[in-house]
Amino acid sequence: MKSITHVAQAGTVESSDILINLAPAQPQSGIQIELATPTPKQYGAQIRELIRQTLTAHGIADAVVQATDKGALDYTIKARLITAIERACAPEGGN
C-alpha cells in the first residue's frame, strides 16, 4: 500500500480539465471524495467511481480528494489523478 505524505494538486480549472487536490487521511478512514461538477446528476457517480478505482489501483486506501471538474473526459480525470498521486507520494513532488 502507498501512502500520501503531503497535499498535492494536479490539473486546472480550464474547460475540459479537472483540478484534483489530494490530501493525506487517517489510516482506515477510506477514500473521501468532495466533487464539484457542472453535471452532478449525469456524471457525478461515474467520476467518483473513476477516482476511487484509480486511487485503489495505485495502492491508495486512505485519502481526501477534492475535485473541481470542468467537463473533463475520463482520460483527463485519470491523468490528473495519477499525477496528483505521484506528487503526493513523492518526497518533493518532482516532475
Partner: protein, 291 residues
C-alpha cells in the same frame, strides 16, 4: 505503385491541454505533435506526459501522432520516453539534435520499451529537429543514425538565434540551412520538414514561404495553427495539370518501351529517366493525397 507517407502539415499541440489533445484528429493534419518541450512549463512536465499517455491509451487517432520530448540532456527527456512510449505513439521527435549518438540513445530506449510492451520491433519511428549550427554540420549523421529515422526538421527560431541574426520576411538567413537540411535528408533517404511560421495572421508571407520550401524540396512544414494545415496541404497538392502531364509522360515512356524505342518524346520535349521518376512521384503523391 509505392504509397508515400505524407507529412505535409505536422501540427504542434501543447501536451498539457486536454481540450486540444482530445480533438487532435479533427484538424486534418497529416501528423499531430503532442509537445512536451517548449509548450509545457517545467512545473507541469509530469502532468503533461501523463495526460499524453492517457490520451494515447484512450483514443484511436486518424492521423499520425508524434511526441516531441524534451532533450535527453535535460532532466525530463528520459522520463518523457519512459512514460509515453507504453502508449505506443507513432513517432518520437527529438528537439535540438546535435549528434548521431543522441539518436542512437533514444532509439535504444524505444527498442527496450517496445520489447517490454510486446510491440513489434521498429513500430515507433523517430524524427529529429536541427536547431543549431553544430546540429546542421551533423545533419547527415543524425539522419542516418537509426533505421527508425523518418525525417529531419529544422527549428528555425533557435537556429536563427544560434546564427546571431534575426528572422526576415523572405527567410534569406535560413536559405543555406534549409538547403543543407534537404540535402542531408535526401542523402539519408528520409523526409525534410520545414520550421513553423509564427504569425498566423500573415497569410501572404506564410503562403510564399510554403511555396518556397516546397520548391527547395521539403516534404512538409511544422505548423502551430489549425488554419495553416489546409493552406500547406493545398500548396503541396499536385494540380490536375501536373497529374495529367505525369500520366502522359508515363504512357509515352511505356509506349517507347513496348516499341523498343531508345528515344522518347512528348509534345516535342525529350523524356529521360529523371522526368519519368518525377512523374511517378507526382502520381504516387496524388494517390497518397486521395487516400
Amino acid at each position: 505503385m509505392q504509397t508515400l507517407k505524407l507529412r505535409r502539415a505536422m501540427m504542434f499541440m501543447p501536451g498539457n491541454n486536454p481540450a486540444m489533445l482530445q480533438n487532435a484528429g479533427i484538424y486534418g493534419a497529416d501528423s499531430v505533435i503532442f509537445d512536451l518541450e517548449d509548450a509545457v512549463s517545467i512545473h507541469e512536465k509530469d502532468s503533461a506526459r501523463q495526460l499524453v499517455l492517457q490520451a494515447l491509451t484512450h483514443f484511436t487517432y486518424s492521423c499520425e501522432i508524434a511526441i516531441r520530448i524534451n532533450h535527453i540532456q535535460t532532466p525530463y527527456g528520459f522520463r518523457d520516453l519512459e512514460t509515453v512510449l507504453p502508449g505506443k505513439p507513432d513517432l518520437i521527435r527529438l528537439p535540438k539534435a546535435e549528434s548521431a549518438e543522441e539518436i542512437q540513445t533514444v532509439a535504444e530506449v524505444i527498442a527496450r520499451i517496445e520489447r517490454e510492451c510486446g510491440f513489434p520491433d521498429g513500430t515507433i519511428k523517430m524524427g529529429a529537429a536541427i536547431e543549431t549550427a553544430k546540429g546542421l554540420r551533423q545533419a547527415y549523421a543524425i539522419a542516418s543514425a537509426s533505421p527508425r529515422m523518418e525525417f529531419l526538421a529544422i527549428g528555425g527560431e533557435d537556429f536563427i538565434a544560434d546564427l546571431k541574426t534575426t528572422r526576415s520576411k523572405d527567410g534569406r538567413e535560413l536559405f543555406v540551412a534549409r538547403s543543407q537540411l534537404v540535402l542531408a535528408a535526401r542523402e539519408a533517404g528520409i523526409q525534410a520538414i520545414d520550421t513553423v511560421f509564427a504569425d498566423a495572421n500573415d497569410d501572404e508571407t506564410f503562403l510564399n514561404e510554403v511555396r518556397f520550401i516546397k520548391q527547395l524540396g521539403f516534404d512538409g512544414k511544422s505548423v502551430i495553427n489549425p488554419r495553416q494545415v489546409r493552406q500547406v496541404q493545398e500548396v503541396f497538392a499536385p494540380t490536375e495539370k501536373e497529374i495529367s502531364h505525369a500520366r502522359r509522360v508515363l504512357a509515352a515512356y511505356q509506349d517507347a518501351l513496348d516499341r523498343k524505342s531508345g528515344v522518347i518524346a512528348l509534345d516535342g520535349k525529350m523524356i529521360d529517366t529523371p522526368i519519368v521518376t518525377r512523374a511517378e512521384r507526382v502520381l504516387a503523391y496524388a494517390a497518397a493525397v486521395r487516400n
